[in-house]
Amino acid sequence: MSILVIAEHNNEELQAATANTLTAAKEIAEKTGSEISLLVAGGNCNAVAEAASAIPGVAQVLLADSPALEKQLPENFAPYLSELVKEKSFTYVIAPSTTQGKNVLPRAAALLDVAQISDITGIVDGDTFVRPIYAGNAMQTLKSSDTIKAMTVRTAAFDPADLTGGSCSVEKLGDAADVGLSRFVSEEVVQSDRPELSNARIIVSGGRGMQSGDNFEMLEKVADKLGAAVGASRAAVDAGYVPNDMQVGQTGKIVAPDLYIAVGISGAIQHLAGMKDSKIIVAINKDEDAPIFNVADYGLVADLFDAVPELDSQL
């Protein structure tokens, strides 16, 4: 048995999600006696493969460096991936549960005629996995009867693996075809000096209670003092206060930092689905009956426009 892990990267460097996904892969490897190969697929991504070859516990890096894969368009990437899995007889193909992983892996799984198990949070044995359903209100244990198991990993559920200290070979794979179904047009990448939401140790999130995008500056000041990332509820994103990549929840990012500070967020189940596995939850809300207080370790009933500046001055 052998495992193929798809690396998350931006053609320049490996992204954090890769490290958590590898932890899940290693657990499967231990339970099944398998070897892990890491696929770096992209365009001009040699540096990523170099870096990946230093990851302990990875037997080999497979480098698919090809113009047709530069933006990882699923129309080009999925057939390439499914052929690779067949050719090298991988029995597991695993991607992080990022928008990239969710985009390409189901397409490849369908081409392989196998099911995909989305968002695994636990591994029972080589065929049996745990995943949340109903916005995390139930945990389902599933057994797969497919010979090839395709799955995405909920990164917040696995600690990051070490990415340095090892050494393995890099095998260059052949070119991918552009199947001509899709074109990349443009992207707006949100630039920030703050840590990424998905691997920040502390997150300060704002909701509809923030009232405007400008008011998020208050949270940013606190975040900068704490070295924290800034997140948001769907209501804050829908209202246009902040961009979509900041949304935490069932349909946004799933996070589990050491400390999550929810400011002006009511605590709808869809929001809780994205943050309730945080180690410590703090809620600041003026409504003492807000459901967020049912999951908060520390609740402060206060007007956020008083409490947040005060918090800022006390840090």
Binding site: P74, E75, Y134, T141, K143, Q250, V282, Y298
Partner: protein
């Protein structure tokens, strides 16, 4: 251009579900069932494309037991021209959903397929991508804006790093994210009228698709409960507690 929309019947998003005593499944009996919120957004987008003259016909399709007639009637009341029920009482997993839809795609030859990005019960986020694979179509997942330009559809996608825009050859599969639009409400008179409209029905056997599940459920359990902690009186106390826990 015909648009095919996938409509799934799910438990209302506001309900906190309970698990059956034998831990075999979530208990959905007697709960309020609705159109999956992301499918509502998909159908809304289809209707807007028809209203703006881009689409000629909107066909809503739901796979499941006869009870999903209720959601198909909602689709009719919202303005769908036709609805198709793919009848089965079996548990349908995304690969089977994709295969069944692929058979309908072959019959109907739509110019565009609109799905929700995920169903809020299974939270799979797979069916659209799988259908795109099987039918050889391009896919635009997590769509927050679409526009049809000639033989292509431009799709703005909500991705982890921000927004990405792609151009896809038509026909294509697009999966709707929350910000694609604000769905309209169903009016009662339209719902009454929809009761008299026909629902086309086709069985899984007639479509000749093997839907045997590849995944079997071992157990369904409650997640670890989080209990309420303490209320602090002021910011100073909050900071002190967090410091003493080593969180700051």
């Amino acid at each position: 251009m015909k648009i095919l929309v996938g409509i799934k019947r799910v438990v209302d998003a506001n309900i906190k579900v309970r698990i059956k005593a034998d831990n075999s499944a979530v208990d959905v009996e007697k709960l309020k069932m609705v159109v999956n919120p992301f499918c509502e957004i998909a159908i809304e987008e289809a209707l807007r494309l028809k209203e703006s003259g881009v689409a000629t016909e909107v066909i809503a399709v739901s796979i499941g037991s006869d009870s999903c007639h209720e959601q198909l009637r909602t689709a009719l009341a919202l303005g769908a021209d036709r609805v198709i029920h793919v009848a089965t009482d079996e548990v349908i997993q995304p690969l089977a959903v994709a295969k069944l839809f692929n058979a309908i795609v072959e019959q109907e030859k739509p110019g565009l397929v609109l799905f929700g990005k995920q169903s809020i019960d299974g939270d799979n986020n797979q069916s659209g991508q799988m259908l795109a694979a099987l039918s050889g179509m391009a896919q635009g997942t997590f769509a927050s804006e679409i526009s049809i330009e000639g033989d292509e559809i431009m799709v703005t996608r909500e991705v982890d790093s921000g927004l990405q825009k792609v151009a896809l050859k038509l026909p294509a599969v697009v999966t709707a994210d929350l910000r694609l639009n604000e769905p309209r409400y169903v009016s009662l008179p339209n719902l009454m009228k929809a009761k008299r409209k026909p629902i086309e029905s086709i069985s899984v056997a007639e479509l000749g698709i093997d839907i045997t599940p590849r995944l079997s459920t071992v157990t369904v359990l409650n997640p670890p409960e989080r209990s309420a902690g303490e209320k602090v009186a002021n910011v100073a106390e909050l900071v002190e507690k967090l410091k003493s826990e080593g969180a700051l």
